[in-house]
Every structure is written in structure tokens, then in C-alpha cells.
């Protein structure tokens, strides 16, 4: 489908802002719960697992939306290194959105834990119980989270740079205002 407005398609924009809030919340919940011995640990953990699966499902939908509605092109005068950085960081964000919940799920499976999303909803194990795999996946979950957080920060800074310094319509295309409006 050819874009004529210079904006991201409406489903892409809705998914972007919804998932931006979910992923940022998820990153804070994750580091907060493993650094707490208080009641916070329990209730953050209860949110963490179903929210992670929700992000996984939405990420798959979002990938389909991305392939169905090609995003508006980057400004023609954007230097090539910045274009490359933009494309690479976007695909890295997609990869991490999908990998993080899967690694978390596999890690709980490898640790022999029942993967409970609520009081009685249980997901099947996606990895055989194995302490060595658990340790590797558990550390991977942390390191990928740190990479995701840094990528999100860079993404935020880049969006502000486009909106405040270059004023080239890139930020507007996701906020929802027409270019030049």
C-alpha cells in the first residue's frame, strides 16, 4: 500500500505509542522487581509475566502491520550513516520486542517453574528443565533488557533530534501531524 500522507498508518501509530508505554513500563518493572525484597517484588512479578506475553503478541501484530503498511520514507537529505542507524535500530527494536518475552518464557521453563500468567492460566514449557540453560537464559534476559533500554533511549534522543533540530517531519509522522502542518 503506497503511503501518500507522509504519516505512519494509523494502526502503526496506535501500536507504537501503546507499546512504547508498555515496554518502558516493563523495563522499569523488570529491574525494579529483581532489586526489591518488599511487597513490590510480588506484585511487580505478577504484572511482569502477562505484560510480557501481551508485548509478544502485539509485537507479532506490529510486525505484520509494518510489512503491510510500509513506513513513510526517511527524508532524502538525511545523511547515509543516520539512515543506516535508523533502519538498524528499528529492526533491533523489533527483534528485542519479540526475543525478550521468548527468552523470559524459555528461562522460566528451563528453571522448572510453572509459567503462570495469573491464578490458573499456565503456559506450556518451551524449553526442557536444565539448570545450565536456566543460568544462561536468565543472564541473557538481563543483558537483552539493558540493550533494549539503551536502544529505546537512543530512539528517544533521535526522535527529539528530528523534531527539534532537523524539524524534518520524522517525529511528526509518528505523532500524527502532517508534514509541514
Amino acid at each position: 500500500m503506497k503511503d501518500t500522507t507522509g504519516l505512519f498508518a494509523l494502526p502503526a501509530r496506535v501500536l507504537h505509542w501503546l507499546m512504547a508505554a508498555m515496554i518502558l513500563a516493563m523495563l522499569f518493572i523488570g529491574v525494579g522487581m529483581v532489586a526489591s525484597v518488599s511487597e513490590r517484588h510480588a506484585w511487580l512479578l505478577r504484572i511482569h509475566k502477562p505484560l510480557g506475553i501481551a508485548i509478544l503478541l502485539l509485537a507479532v501484530v506490529r510486525l505484520a502491520v509494518r510489512l503491510h503498511y510500509p513506513p513513510p520514507p526517511l527524508p532524502a537529505d538525511l545523511p547515509m550513516p543516520q539512515k543506516l542507524a535508523a533502519h538498524a535500530s528499528h529492526w533491533l527494536l523489533y527483534a528485542l520486542m519479540i526475543a525478550m518475552p521468548l527468552v523470559g518464557w524459555a528461562m522460566l521453563s528451563a528453571g522448572g517453574y510453572p509459567v503462570m500468567l495469573g491464578d490458573s492460566l499456565r503456559l506450556p514449557a518451551i524449553f526442557p528443565a536444565n539448570p545450565i540453560a536456566f543460568a544462561v537464559l536468565r543472564h541473557l534476559h538481563t543483558w537483552l533488557a539493558m540493550l533494549l533500554f539503551l536502544t529505546v533511549l537512543a530512539h528517544m534522543a533521535a526522535a527529539l533530534y528530528h523534531g527539534l533540530i532537523r524539524r524534518d517531519g520524522v517525529l511528526a509522522s509518528m505523532v500524527g501531524r502532517r508534514r509541514g502542518a
Binding site: 522487581m33 532489586a35 525484597v37 518488599s38 517484588h41 536468565r138
Partner: protein
């Protein structure tokens, strides 16, 4: 772009650049605070487990507390009498649920002699046929010394061995108990408690309160205990350091060992958030069924080795109470589990596993 000289634009751009740097920086600072790196005063699972290591050293591959133990396996036979109070499948009438358990003694030294502490522990993992699990870790005393994670941490700090003597400083320990009157019930128990000669003759208490939810949706605050069906031996006083495992093996060679699971129902107003206070003895109890232990295995190769007995892993029908020790146990056990599995995996930066367990008796 207008060809105006740049100095005019600079103040505006400066503000924009400041904003571009400040937004991610503020996020990073908030992240650092929430994650505990920028909050050095907060008690975190890592600091709690570090204190265990400071007190007893690092024993790679072992649990950071209750390090010395033995795996057992068996099943739980439900009587059906707890089913009206909890809809957990494990309590359904006639239900038989497989159990992988572990007996242990408290402390971080896997080579400690069994007579070094008067407390024994029983940890169990029930695997229901619907795949949900009930994990519990119980101790052979009716009350816990402290009510909060912070007090527990302070107790560990007070018990840290003095480098000069290799033993805890009695003054610090006394000062801790003086500052924590809630430890009185535990200390009264500890005065008369003697290290038992067998795991099989001990009662094991849940200590923390939990909440059962019945099939009618009614919630009940409960505590539970495992009541032994084995009699004391009048044999000679054990002398070797590992007499508990030897005794367990001998008893199991003659047949399974049994405990009754007795659930105590709280009255309204009974404390659920304070493991230092026992409930009055007149509270109604329910005989939920029988735990049958059939076999034992060494902990370094048995099926309990890779289980984190996190007491907040619970099936539908059992939930944590508002006891502040429960989330702390969950968080600290997870940290300990990650340390020992990382050592098992020989990940860089972890303490290396001994090629063979050395039977050195470190105190």
C-alpha cells in the same frame, strides 16, 4: 534554510540539545534508582545473599542458605478434608500428588555438622496433574525470629563472624536481640531446643501465613505444619557429622516415612503478617492428608538439586498472605538460585565449582 548568521540560532538550538540529552538522561537516572544501582541504602536480594556469603563464605554450586541437605521423593495423599477451604487440586478427595522434597539444616556451610544447629527444614514441591505447582519451605520451629526482611538482614549482620576470632561477636548478637523484642518467642523455643537425631521425627511449620480460597470463593487465612508419624529412636547418640542423612537412609530402607499435613485456620484478627507470633492453640485445624516419603537421593545429583523452593510458587487455591517475609524469601531464593546455577554452568565471573566436594568441616 535562511542564510542568517548562526549566532542567532545558537541559543534556541542549545535548549533543544539540552532537552535531547536531558530526556534520556532522566530516564536512565530513574532506571538506575528503580534498579537499585543508585539506591545503595535499599535492601535488595543481592545484598541479602551477599550477607550470607559474608557470614559463611562462598560454596559454589550450593544454596546460599540451608546449604546442607538431602533430596527425597514420594507423594501426598489427600484426605479431602481441606477441599472445602482450598480449591487447589492437591486437596481434592482421594488425590495423589507426586512430591520432590529436600531435608536440610539452616546455614550456608554445606559441610556443617548436623549437631551445629537445633533446626531442621523440609522443602516440598507438589506437582499437580494440571501442571500447577505448590512449593513450600518449612522449618522445625513454630515461630520465626523476626518479622521483616530488614530485621532478618540486621540479624545476619550481627551474626557475621569477627575476623579476629572466626566467631560472631556475642556483644553484637546480644545487642541485636535487645533491639528486637519480637525475637522473644523464638529465643524461648531455642533455649530448650536440641538438635534432633532424625529428620523423620520432626514437625515442620510453614511459619508464614497463606490464604486458601475455597470452591465457594471464600478466603481463609491459614498456616500449616507437617506432623511426623515416626517415633523417636532410643538408640545411641549420633556421633558422626552427617548422622541425619545416615538415619534417613536407614529408616527408608525399612519403609516409607509419613507426616500428616495439618492446616490451622485463623480467626479474624489473627496476625498474618507476623511470623514471630504463633496463633492461639485453640484454632480449628484440618487434617489435609498424608505426606509419604519413599526414597532419598544425594543432593548433588538428586532431583531436588535444581529446584528453587520458592514459597510463593503456588497453585490456584493457595495464595501468599501479607507476610512481608514471603516476597523477600522469593526474591532472595531467586538470587541464590541464579548464583548456584551460574556456578554450575561455569559462567565467567562466578566462583568455580570444586572438582570434588571436600569434606572439610568448616564452621
Amino acid at each position: 534554510m535562511p542564510e542568517s548568521p548562526t549566532p542567532k540560532k545558537r541559543p534556541h538550538h542549545l535548549g533543544a540539545w539540552v532537552l535531547i540529552a536531558a530526556v534520556p538522561a532522566a530516564c536512565a537516572l530513574a532506571f538506575g534508582y528503580v534498579g537499585g544501582w543508585l539506591a545503595p541504602q535499599r535492601l535488595t536480594p543481592k545484598r541479602l545473599v551477599d550477607q550470607f556469603e559474608a557470614n559463611a563464605g562462598v560454596h559454589p554450586g550450593y544454596r546460599r542458605n540451608h546449604a546442607k541437605g538431602v533430596c527425597v521423593a514420594g507423594y501426598f495423599q489427600s484426605s479431602g478434608q481441606a477441599a472445602p477451604y482450598s480449591m487447589a487440586q492437591v486437596f481434592a478427595p482421594g488425590q495423589r500428588t507426586p512430591v520432590v522434597g529436600r531435608f536440610a539444616i539452616p546455614g550456608s556451610n554445606p559441610y556443617a555438622p548436623d549437631s551445629s544447629v537445633p533446626i531442621r527444614s523440609m522443602a516440598l514441591r507438589f506437582t499437580q496433574t494440571n501442571g500447577q505447582q505448590w512449593r513450600t519451605g518449612m522449618n522445625s520451629m513454630p515461630v520465626f525470629p523476626v518479622a521483616t526482611p530488614q530485621a532478618f538482614y540486621e540479624q545476619l549482620q550481627a551474626q557475621q563472624p569477627d575476623p579476629a576470632t572466626g566467631k560472631p561477636d556475642p556483644k553484637k548478637v546480644a545487642a541485636f536481640f535487645a533491639a528486637h523484642p519480637e525475637t522473644a518467642a523464638f529465643r524461648a523455643w531455642a533455649k530448650t531446643a536440641k538438635p534432633s537425631a532424625s529428620f523423620a521425627t520432626e514437625s515442620y511449620w510453614s511459619l508464614d501465613a497463606f490464604v486458601f480460597t475455597g470452591p465457594d470463593g471464600q478466603r481463609h487465612a491459614v498456616r500449616w505444619r507437617m506432623v511426623p508419624q515416626s517415633a523417636d529412636d532410643d538408640g545411641a547418640a549420633p556421633t558422626d557429622a552427617d548422622y541425619l542423612a545416615t538415619d534417613l537412609r536407614q529408616r527408608l530402607s525399612h519403609g516409607p516415612l509419613r507426616w500428616k499435613l495439618v492446616v490451622t485456620l485463623a480467626n479474624p484478627g489473627d496476625p498474618t503478617d507476623d511470623a514471630t507470633r504463633a496463633w492461639p492453640t485453640d484454632r480449628p485445624t484440618v487434617d489435609a492428608g498424608t505426606l509419604v516419603v519413599e526414597s532419598e537421593q544425594a543432593q548433588d545429583s538428586g532431583p531436588c538439586r535444581d529446584i528453587n523452593y520458592d514459597p510463593t510458587v503456588l497453585p490456584n487455591g493457595i495464595a501468599p498472605s501479607d507476610d512481608p517475609l514471603l516476597p523477600a524469601r522469593s526474591a532472595a531464593y531467586a538470587d541464590s538460585y541464579l548464583r548456584r546455577t551460574s556456578e554450575e554452568a561455569h559462567l565467567p565471573g562466578t566462583a568455580s565449582m570444586p572438582a570434588k566436594a571436600q569434606p572439610e568441616a568448616r564452621q
